[in-house]
């Protein structure tokens, strides 16, 4: 009996997952976006590391050529130990003062720690332009090129957006559209069309009868935080609460 059941269940699982009808376009677009993102990250890293390495190499070469390398190394070690001191303030037996005088160069080099800590990250620099103009969702179907460093990455996100838009407004397949908006927002949470995508996602939830989720998704629009479709969102929430 259990053997039969196991066989039947195995067959059922096989058939159930044989072809789920998913054409995998969303995942394909996600894969492409991730690959582009990886490439951009590698390039950014390279663009940051290369100049630093070049400066280091040039500084070392300069020091070696002028015979100041030992003094420079000493200065750097002084700076590093100076920077470390605040980390261990209450020592019962404080470190003895250095036997030799610090090199004059050491006094001229300020501790670099504070500067690096506040340096803006690339992610922060690429943050979404706040208060994106409220454009109608339909007009967003044809995105105009944005000032960005990677056109290819934009295209990959654009594909996700177009697929979701097509499922929503052309095919009226709200389940697929919801998956599409989710895929787009996962790929580009601060993308140019993230606000529109979030609004459209809320509409999909509404269409699918997932009222409580829709209410949550509409809340930020109705409150005006998103600066987009406030009136419509408020009307929809009113309708939902009736």
């Amino acid at each position: 009996m259990t053997d039969d059941l196991l066989k039947a269940a195995t067959r059922a699982l096989h058939e159930e997952t044989a072809d789920d009808g998913a054409d995998g376009r969303f995942t394909r677009a996600r894969v492409m976006a991730s690959l582009h993102q990886g490439k951009v990250k590698r390039r950014t890293r390279l663009a940051f590391i290369l100049p630093v390495a070049a400066c280091l190499a040039a500084g070392t070469a300069f020091g070696a050529a002028t015979g100041r390398l030992p003094a420079m190394l000493h200065a750097i070690s002084e700076v590093v130990s100076y920077g470390r001191k605040p980390a261990e303030p209450k020592r019962s037996s404080p470190q003895p003062a250095p036997a030799q005088k610090p090199a004059p160069a050491a006094k001229q080099v300020p501790p670099p720690l504070a500067e690096t800590a506040v340096a803006p990250t690339p992610a922060a620099a690429q943050a979404k332009p706040s208060g994106a103009k409220a454009e109608p969702a339909l007009s967003a179907a044809k995105p105009t090129p944005a000032p960005s460093s990677s056109a290819a990455f934009q295209d990959a996100d654009g594909d996700l957006y177009r697929l979701a838009h097509e499922a929503h407004f052309d095919a009226h397949d709200y389940g697929r559209a919801l998956a599409g908006w989710d895929a787009y927002l996962r790929s580009a949470p601060n993308g140019r069309f993230a606000t529109e995508a979030r609004y459209n996602r809320a509409i999909c939830l509404l269409r699918l009868g997932r009222d409580s989720e829709a209410r949550l998704a509409l809340e930020p629009f109705a409150s005006g935080r998103m600066g987009y479709r406030q009136t419509e969102a408020r009307q929809l929430l009113d309708e939902l609460s009736r």
């Binding site: 009996m1 195995t10 067959r11 699982l13 159930e16 997952t17 789920d20 995942t27 996600r30 690959l35």
Partner: protein, 197 residues
């Protein structure tokens, strides 16, 4: 489960065609067009395996995504000892652990809340019965260790030979058979008290 992609040195494919070699070279160079090409050819097989293994459509999609994103890096270890499709499945196996765990957690939460999503269908009775059986097996699979789960899905659900499974998982055929035996035993035990009408 093995840590990385380990292929047993079974008979290599006779001659990898020039096209295939070019494709592999492009994949190693992380050419997105090549990844797209491989995706178009094999995504259905990878998705079917992922769905069977994790038992959750969303987690399966995430696994498919991960397989193809990591493909260029994984291709550096590809030696034409198995087909590209088999290689993709082995990548999926290597990345499955996290996805299986999260899908299992989600299923447990859903069943606690009795929120199991139901699909609508034109042929309700038969499809419903099939769905129930599949879901029953998926829940029983959740109780297996990942190695046994992978082996059962590959051998029984995907109906692959033990040699293929050995290539995918990187363990000897004897180990595959042992894992399958233990998996079936546990599944029988797991299914017996729950038995359907």
């Amino acid at each position: 489960m093995t840590g990385g992609l380990v292929f047993s040195p079974t008979a290599p494919l006779d001659e990898a065609s020039q096209d295939e070699q070019d494709l592999v070279a492009r994949l190693v160079a992380a050419d997105p067009a090549a990844v797209g090409e491989v995706y178009d050819q094999h995504h259905r097989a990878v998705r079917a395996f992922a769905s069977r293994l994790v038992g959750d459509a969303a987690a399966a999609e995430d696994l498919v995504h991960e397989v193809f994103v990591t493909l260029p890096r994984a291709m550096r270890g590809y030696r034409f000892e198995s087909s590209l499709r088999t290689f993709l499945i082995s990548i999926a196996v290597n990345h499955a652990r996290h996805h299986v765990r999260s899908a299992t957690r989600r299923r447990a939460a859903m069943s606690r809340l009795a929120l199991e999503p139901e699909g609508n269908s034109a042929d309700p009775e038969q499809v419903q019965r099939r769905k129930e059986l599949a879901s029953l097996l998926t829940k029983a699979l959740d109780t297996l260790p990942l190695e046994q789960r992978v082996t059962f899905v590959l051998c029984e659900v995907e109906e692959r030979t033990s040699r293929e499974v050995s290539e995918i998982t990187g363990v000897p055929e004897g180990t595959v058979r042992t894992r399958l035996h233990h998996a079936k035993k546990k599944l029988r035990e797991e299914l017996s008290p729950r038995g359907l009408e």
